[in-house]
Amino acid sequence: MKAKVYVTLKPSVLDPQGKAIQHSVELLGFEKIEDVRQGKFFEIALDANLSETDARDAAENIAKNVLANPVIEDYKVEIVS
């Protein structure tokens, strides 16, 4: 069983790296790009015998306490069996 965790900056937080990426992408000739936001992606392998609920609880806990800083970031957890 795997947990996929996406960590993104809160919408209210400026993302200068995303802006720099957007600028580079535009230099490549891609147009009509309105915004780029950078985030982080984590894949956590969990014990196959865990129930989906327990796996989700564990991953939520890890995301909240370690992977994301709740002052500036949001997170989303997906469980894949």
Partner: protein
């Protein structure tokens, strides 16, 4: 009186802090390896700059799980002095000892230069030897020094006089062009509500000798020493 300087894997300003305390403050000081959990010998603990855990995940994010950090939290909760500089400030924010977070500099560069900071609160344990409004020249060296907090936290910091230093120009004016990293409200250093925990991005331990371009950092360490002596 005894100071401790915490050493994480990747700390690199620990020796500077040790040097300043032993040579310029003239007080006993120990290095404290991050696995130590007893701080009862100390009156103040410095969380130094550097790249603890290689800045993996986020600057300071992994150091908060080091065994010493629970001891630092207890130490601070008992009213003892905890002083975080640069990576130390990042760690104290990550550990919840100070509000807010330090993000990537708005211009994305690692910035290493002397900056001017204005003393906003000259009547707390780390600034008693300074005057409010005084301008100090202290170097910064960071890529993640862009202080962020929400509006409510900012209002609380202001109302409680917890903003201790702000980036300013040479005349002490708080202006955008003097803000090196995009920090909210030009914040360079804040304290907790009680005033015993201070975090700042500029490095006062690198500004204690004329030879290094400035000795403006000394009065911060002198203030702290006085506060410990009077406690």
């Amino acid at each position: 009186m005894k100071f401790g300087v915490i050493v994480f894997p990747g700390s690199n300003c620990d020796h500077d802090a040790y040097h300043v305390v032993s040579k310029h403050v003239g007080q006993p000081v120990d290095f404290i390896w991050h696995k130590q959990t007893d701080l009862s010998d100390y009156d103040a603990v410095i969380v130094p700059g550097g790249f603890s855990y290689g800045d993996y995940l986020r600057a300071g994010a992994l150091a908060k799980f080091s065994p010493v950090m629970n001891a630092v939290k207890d130490f601070a909760a008992r009213g003892n002095y905890v002083f975080g500089v640069c990576n130390g400030f990042q760690i104290l924010c990550e550990a919840g000892l100070l509000p807010g977070a330090l993000m990537r500099n708005s211009n994305l560069h690692f910035i290493c230069q002397h900056v001017n900071i204005r003393v906003e609160n000259g009547a707390m344990p780390y600034t008693s030897e300074l005057e409010a409004g005084e301008v100090l020249s202290i170097p910064i060296a960071h890529a993640e020094g862009n202080y962020f907090c929400d509006d409510q936290t900012l209002a609380e910091l202001e109302n409680n006089n917890q903003i201790i230093f702000r980036y300013c120009d040479e005349n002490g004016e708080i202006v955008d062009r003097a803000n090196p990293n995009g920090s909210r409200s030009n914040i360079a250093g804040i304290s907790n509500k009680e005033g015993n925990v201070l975090g700042m991005m500029p490095h006062p331990e690198r500004a204690c000798e004329e030879l290094l371009g400035s000795n403006d950092g000394r009065d911060i360490f002198r203030s702290l020493t006085k506060a410990i002596a009077e406690k």
